[in-house]
Amino acid sequence: MTQIQSVEPGIGSPPLPPATSPEAKAPAEARSLLATAWMRIRRSKIALLSLCVVVAILLFAILAPVLSAMSGNDPYTSNTSPEVLDDFETPGLPLPGYMYPSAQHWLGVEPGLGRDLFARLAYGGQVSLTIALLSTVVSVVLGTVLGAAAGYFGGKTDAIISRIMDLFLAFPHLLLVLSLTPILQSRLRDTPLGEGSFLPMASLVIILGFFGWAYLARIVRGQVLSLREREFVEAARSFGASHLSILFRQIIPNVMGVVLVYATMLIPTNISAEAALSFLGVGVKDPTPSWGQMLNAAQSGNWYLSDPWFLAVPGIMLIVTVLAFNLLGDAVRDALDPKSSR
């Protein structure tokens, strides 16, 4: 069958695409995908606004060293002198001049240790967003490849991967992540990943990434089931393209729309997850700042009851970030997913 077609290409049918088409097709697909998304997002005010906020937050985190240097602070230097922190009434509480925004400390200082809150918020953003983005990448790569493989190969491969998906979906994520994080950290301690502040980040990326792929995989699998019967896949097969080549050059580029939608929605989930774990004390730990760690610091010692400001700083940052990513995710879905009817 394949031989006949390769001997007489295109007889009685529309001319087949040149042999180089698989390579040429992938980037074109990706570009047009983003272009379509952008074209539709541009028309919605909310989508555009959330995109701007997301970009601003990313810049805020990336420029953390520059921004905190502008006020002459860093996230680690503590200042417990009695001029900064109260020594009598509520020991450790910043004095009025240091509690709230000022020229020297843009968001005031932290209770207890007197570290600059703005610097911690910005550097904490680096940590929180890095964890969220990297773990999303891990989940998306696993989910896309495994989901596509299950859908494309079918049969036993599909059965095995699908059962593993069911298992992952049945596990109570937060609970398992919570109990496995300390275990993974003790395992990683002696590896190159286990150095200092890098360890909690690496373990969160691995664990959140590893437990987030199943849902996406299920959706990709569903898409691929219908894709594999399509003509262009048939065509590639008739040219003698290998399974791997079809999978990566024909199938996966065609599910990138769905993948992009779910990736955008996974980011805020992972931001919240990092915050939750660090808040519970198993994720990022002091002195490394992250938004979850800052929430933890606000709760420990009940500082947030002394002044809501310490809850408001990381809390509002977290809400705005998650909201912006969620709205952007909705917009991307509306733009790319033909099934969403809005």
């Binding site: 059962r163 496995l180 915050a275 929430l295 947030y304």
Partner: protein
């Protein structure tokens, strides 16, 4: 119907076996040495070795797993030969920290988790489905836009932030509600149902804010879709009252995805609302699990993880059965 139930129960048992085996494996691979963790801070190598024997960790892995599973069906002896103690059915091992039977710890935590789950569930289902339905009926109106907007914000509010904010506002500033106490874990206790509600109201709200948002979205989308279908038009053209069309025909058909979500969420919540329990210091399963995880108390974390997975899996089956009861178009094959 019978075949369906049997088949689902069969796959349920298989899935549970797989979950328990994987959880067991993960935790065994886990920390460098559970025996050292169990033994405590100042522990000589000899005592660690004794602890290994006491925990049965000198046995091959599969023997340990088989022992563990056996404990689910009958009482068994646990500990080093010569110093064995009885671990009564259902035996889930003993806590490294307190040497207490894990099943007892779980039994003690469950009423708190139930108290949290039941109220939150009612609150978010009523608000979520109610507002979602309202938005669908007024599609495109300012009411609809407001509800959809509120849902977008609600789904973005992390529990630590809402929880701490609620505590700050209602307990610390306004003094409207008491701080949660361990003494109340049922509406039928000596303090009465009023105290029970007051005790759990804030955790319920914290959970409901987050959860109802997604229920609003799902209800709205599905109801709008259902209201556009032919059988609704037929019902209307038969001259049925709008109320009958909306509730008897529309809601019954459009609510099924909500039932799926509800089933899954009940399953999840019964495994312990980890964050909420932690913030409000409610000593339920989630709270117990966090403390066990942090102190390396493996038998406790492992048992709670398995129990939580069990709830999720059972909820899945219940959802499938509920489908047939609600939606007349669904027939079990």
């Amino acid at each position: 119907m019978m075949t369906f139930i049997l088949r689902r129960t069969g796959s349920l048992v298989l899935l549970l076996a797989a979950v328990s085996f994987i959880t067991f494996t993960l935790f065994q691979l886990g920390p460098s040495d559970p025996a050292a963790a169990a033994c405590g801070q100042e522990c000589t190598p000899e005592r660690v070795a004794e602890a290994r024997v006491a925990l049965g960790m000198d046995q091959p892995f599969l023997v340990q797993y088989a022992d563990y599973i056996r404990g689910l069906f009958s009482s068994r002896m646990i500990g080093a030969p010569g110093a064995q103690t009885l671990c009564e059915w259902p035996c889930l091992g003993k806590s490294f920290q307190t040497n207490e039977n894990v099943a007892d710890i779980i039994g003690r935590s469950l009423p708190y988790t139930f108290s949290m789950a039941i109220g939150a569930l009612v609150l978010w289902t009523v608000t979520g489905v109610g507002l979602g339905l309202l938005a669908a009926l007024r599609k495109g109106s300012p009411v609809d836009k407001f509800i959809v907007g509120a849902a977008s914000v609600g789904v973005s509010l992390p529990i630590p932030v809402t929880g701490l904010f609620l505590l700050l506002l209602f307990v610390n500033q306004l003094h409207l509600l008491p701080f949660t106490t361990n003494e109340i874990n049922s509406p039928f206790g000596p303090q009465g149902p009023g105290a029970w509600v007051a005790n759990y109201l804030l955790p319920w709200i914290a959970l409901a804010v987050l959860f109802s948002a997604s229920y609003i979205r799902v209800t709205r989308t599905n109801m709008i879709e259902t209201f556009g279908e032919d059988f609704i038009r037929t019902a209307r053209s038969k001259g049925l009252a709008p109320r009958t069309v909306t509730f008897k025909h529309g809601v019954r058909a459009g609510i099924t995805p909500v039932v799926t979500m509800l089933g899954m969420d009940i399953g999840l919540l019964l495994g312990g609302a980890v964050l909420t329990e932690q913030i409000f210091s409610v000593p339920g399963l989630g709270f117990t699990a966090v403390h066990a995880a942090i102190s390396g108390d493996l038998p406790v974390t492992m048992a709670i993880t398995m129990l939580a997975a069990f709830f999720v899996i059972v909820a899945n089956v219940v959802v499938d059965l509920a489908y047939a009861a609600i939606d007349p178009r669904v027939r079990l094959q």
